[in-house]
């Protein structure tokens, strides 16, 4: 009787462990600290994707409008997934999309844009990932929402989805 009871307890314990580990497997393994503080937009100089000329960030963010900075690369598979949503966002007149081409081969990046379309008003080249660090990025894809006061108000790590697009559209309304 006692051994049967012990076996049942052991079985329940094993199921409990299985559920915990199974849930843990589905959790993202990147820890992102929650920060509610708005961050100032960094100032920098970067090369323009189409002209290859150095431009100042103040010129890039000169309009009094909401901006989206999207970090992407042609080698990044999730970037392909989110691209159609960026194309959809680019139709919105009250937001300007800026692309940050992260550690990429220029020819491959151009092919990517030609194939999937260009949602960006301007694309900046980030060959060594330093611009990404200025924004506090972890990698690709990553999306930042900047308000009219030039403050970074939202950061989305990973590919954006329908829910995020709706959230952005609600903020910029």
């Amino acid at each position: 009787m006692k051994t049967k009871f012990n076996l049942i307890i052991l079985f329940i314990f094993l199921i409990f462990c299985f559920i915990i580990f199974y849930k843990g497997l589905n959790n993202p393994n990147i820890y992102i600290p929650k920060t509610n503080i708005e961050k100032n937009l960094p100032t920098f100089k970067a090369k323009d994707f189409s002209t290859n000329i150095n431009i100042d960030s103040k010129k890039v963010f000169a309009e009094e409008s909401y901006y989206i900075v999207n970090i992407w690369a042609s080698w990044c598979i999730p970037c392909r997934k989110e691209h159609s949503l960026l194309m959809e966002l680019s139709k919105n007149q009250s937001i300007i999309l800026i692309g940050l081409n992260y550690r990429d081969n220029l020819n491959n990046a151009k092919k990517f844009i030609n194939e999937l379309g260009n949602p960006y008003t301007k694309i900046l080249i980030d060959n060594d990932g330093l611009l990404g660090v200025e924004f506090g990025a972890y990698g690709v894809p990553e999306t930042f929402l900047i308000n009219k006061n030039k403050k970074i108000i939202k950061k989305f790590v990973g590919p954006i989805n329908k829910k995020i697009v709706e959230e952005i559209e609600l903020i910029i309304k």
Binding site: I30, P33, Y102, D128, G129, L130, F135, Y138
Partner: protein, 122 residues
Amino acid sequence: MKILKIFLIIFLSIGFSQLKSDEKKDELNNKILKNIRCLICQGQSVYDSESDFASSIKIIVDKKINDGMSEDQVYKFLRDKYGDWIIYDPELNKNTYILWLLPLLLFLAGGAIVLKNLVYKN
């Protein structure tokens, strides 16, 4: 000949002092990199990692040191970008005081229990 020798000594001493300052810079660089967490890796410092994120951080730390930033200034720069989590050795502030004080409190409580038992036994 004597002048040539003097020139050679001066040249070598300048060369060695340059090497020494580079060595110091590398030491500082490595010290900082070992104290920065690679945020996309599992339990690795930026120094140990070869990820894209780590290599960007390595470049930026090197750049900041060459610009004349001190160790604390580099940490502050990275903390501003990524929060306290990026530094292995977090500073004492309102978010981290439990982290710093709890071990001390536990040590004091443990010590008090041991002391009490000793006094009781005696």
